[in-house]
Amino acid sequence: MSRYLLRRLLLLVPVLLGVSVVVFLVLHLAPGDPAEIMLGPQATQEDVSRLRADLGLDEPLPLQYVRWMAHVLQGDLGRSIRMRQPVLGEVLIRFRATLLLTVTALLLSTVGGITLGVLSAARPHSLVDRLSTVGSIFGASMPSFWLGLVLMVCFSLWLGWLPASGMYGAHGGGGLMDLLSHLALPAITLAAASMTIIARLTRSTMLDILRQDFVRTARAKGLVERGVVLRHALRNALIPTVTVVGVQAGYLLGGAIFTETVFAWPGVGTLMVQGILARDFPLVQGCVLVIALVFVLFNLAVDLLYAILDPRIRYE
C-alpha cells in the first residue's frame, strides 16, 4: 500500500506543476498590459507603473512564474486589487462556505443515489425504477442554475417554507437551524444531477451482481432477500460507486459556482465571479488555485479509497 501511495503522490507533482502554470498564465492570456486591464481606463500612468512593479510584470515570463510560485509555496497569493486584502485569507474564509455546501451536496447525492439505485435494482421496472430512469435523463439535461431558481420559486416564494438566499437570516439568530434552513435549497440543487448519476450506476452494477452465482448461493441457503441485497450485493456494488462519487465530488466543487450565484451563498465561487468582473487577477488566481488544489486532493483520496476497497489495484 505504501508503494502505491508513494507512486500516486509522485504522479501528483507534474499535475500540480501543470495546474500552477495554467493558473499563472490566466493573468497573461488577455492581449495587452495586465496592469492596465486591472486598473481600468481611468488609472494614471503612475498607478499602472506601481502595479507593474508590485506584480513584477517587467521581468521575463519564466522569472515571473518562479517568483510567483515561490510566494505561493509560502502561502502568499498576493493582494486583492479590489479589496486591498491578502488573497489567501479572503479565499479561505469563503472556502469554508463552499466546502460546507459541497460536502452536504455530496452526502445527499451519495445517500440518495445509492438508496434509489438499490431500490431500482431490487425491483426492476417498478415505479421507483421508472421514476429514477426519468430522473436521470432530466438530471443530465437540467441546468443546475435553473433548477435552483425553480426550487426557490416553489419553496420560498409559493410555499414560504425555506429562505431564498444567503447563509444566515438577518433575524435568524445565526444558529444551526438557521444555517440548515438556508443550506437546504442550495444543497438539493447542487446534489440533484449527481444523485441521478450515482443512482444509475448503482442500479446497473447491482443488477449485474444480483445475477451472479454467489448471490444465487446466498438465496439458495435461505437468506432473506433484504440480507442478500444489502449484505452481499450492495457491498460488491460499492467499488465502482466510490469512483463515481469521487468524480462527482469534483463536479460538485466546480458546479457550486452556479448554485452559490443563484442563492447568494457566500462561497469562493461568488468571490471568483466578482473578481473576474472587477478584473481582479490576483483574487481570481487565488480562487482557481485553491479550488483546483482541493479537486486534485479529492481525486487522490478517491484513488486511495479505491485501492483500500479493491486490493487488486495496489498490485497493478
Binding site: V19, L25, S141, L149, V153, G250, G255, T261, V273, I276
Partner: protein, 275 residues
C-alpha cells in the same frame, strides 16, 4: 400492424423538438416578431398571455417570445460551435498521439491530464477571466476545456487500430502515414466521434448558458438563454416567468439532444444498447 417501440418514439419526439428549435432560430429574421431589443418600460414584467406579448415581457418591457427565439440563435450556435471546435482539436491531437506514440503521445496526454486536473467549468471560467468576459471568449474557453474528451477517445481507438492487419497491409503497399491516417484510420473514428459529439452539443449548450448566467458570456442587450436567466434572477420573486421560460428552453433542447444522442449511440454501437 406493429407499434413503434417507445424508444424510437421518444427519439422522434426529440428530433421534432430540435427541428423546431433550429427552424425557429434560422427563421427568426423572417418571423412576425417584435424587435427583441425594443425597450418598452411602461409594459415591463407583463405576465404571459398579455395582449401583444404571448409570453409576457421582461424587466425592460422587451418581448419574451422574441428574445427566446432570437436567443435560440445564439445559444444553439454557441453549443454547436464549441462542440465542433472541441471535436476538431481533440480528433486531430488524439489521432496523432495514438498513431505516432512516443513523445507526441506523451505531450498530448500530459496536456489533457493537466486540463482534466481542473473541474471542467472552473477551467473555462479561469480562461474567460484571462481573456475577458464576452461570448466569443466564453466559446474559446469551453472549446479548449472540451477537447481532452475527444483526444482521449480518439487516441484509444487509434491505439487499438494501428497494429491491425489492414493498416499493416496499407503500409506494406507503400501508403504514406498521411494516407493511412486519412483514408484508413479516420473513417473508423466516425461512429464513436459522432456519438460523442451528439451527446456533447447539449453539454456545451449548458456550459455556455452557464457562463452567460454568471455574466461571463453573452453581454447585454444581446439575448441568449443563459444571459436572459441571469438578468431574470433579480425579478424571479416578482415575476417567475422571466426566469422559468429561458430555463425551460435550455432544458427542453438539451433533453432532446441527450435523448437523440442516446438513440444514435444505440444505432451506431449496438454493443452499448441499454438493458
Amino acid at each position: 400492424m406493429s407499434r413503434r417501440p417507445p424508444r424510437n418514439r421518444l427519439a422522434l419526439a426529440a428530433a421534432v423538438v430540435i427541428g423546431a428549435a433550429v427552424g425557429l432560430a434560422l427563421l427568426a429574421p423572417w418571423l412576425p416578431l417584435i424587435d427583441p431589443d425594443a425597450v418598452d418600460t411602461p409594459n415591463r414584467l407583463k405576465p404571459p398571455g398579455t395582449a401583444g406579448h404571448l409570453l409576457g415581457t421582461d424587466e425592460f418591457g422587451r418581448d419574451m417570445l422574441a428574445r427566446l427565439v432570437w436567443g435560440a440563435r445564439v445559444s444553439l450556435l454557441a453549443g454547436v460551435g464549441t462542440a465542433t471546435a472541441s471535436m476538431l482539436i481533440g480528433v486531430l491531437l488524439g489521432l496523432h498521439a495514438g498513431y505516432w506514440g512516443g513523445r507526441v503521445d506523451t505531450v498530448v496526454m500530459r496536456l489533457t491530464d493537466i486540463l482534466m486536473a481542473f473541474p471542467y467549468i472552473l477551467l473555462a471560467i479561469a480562461i474567460v477571466a484571462g481573456l475577458g468576459p464576452g461570448l466569443t471568449n466564453a466559446m474559446v474557453a469551453i472549446a479548449i476545456v472540451g477537447f481532452p474528451l475527444y483526444a482521449r477517445l480518439v487516441r484509444g481507438v487509434v491505439l487499438s487500430l494501428r497494429e491491425r492487419e489492414f493498416v499493416e497491409a496499407a503500409r506494406a503497399l507503400g501508403s504514406s502515414d498521411r494516407v493511412i491516417l486519412r483514408r484508413h484510420l479516420l473513417p473508423h473514428l466516425l461512429a464513436p466521434v459522432v456519438v460523442a459529439f451528439s451527446l456533447d452539443v447539449g453539454a456545451k449548450i449548458l456550459a455556455t448558458a452557464g457562463l452567460s448566467f454568471l455574466g461571463l458570456g453573452t453581454q447585454p442587450p444581446t439575448a441568449d438563454w443563459g444571459s436572459m436567466l441571469a438578468t431574470a434572477r433579480t425579478f424571479v420573486i416578482l415575476r417567475p416567468h422571466v426566469a422559468l421560460l429561458p430555463g425551460l428552453a435550455i432544458f427542453l433542447v438539451v433533453l432532446a439532444l441527450n435523448v437523440l444522442g442516446d438513440a444514435l449511440q444505440d444505432l451506431l454501437d449496438p454493443r452499448l444498447r441499454h438493458g
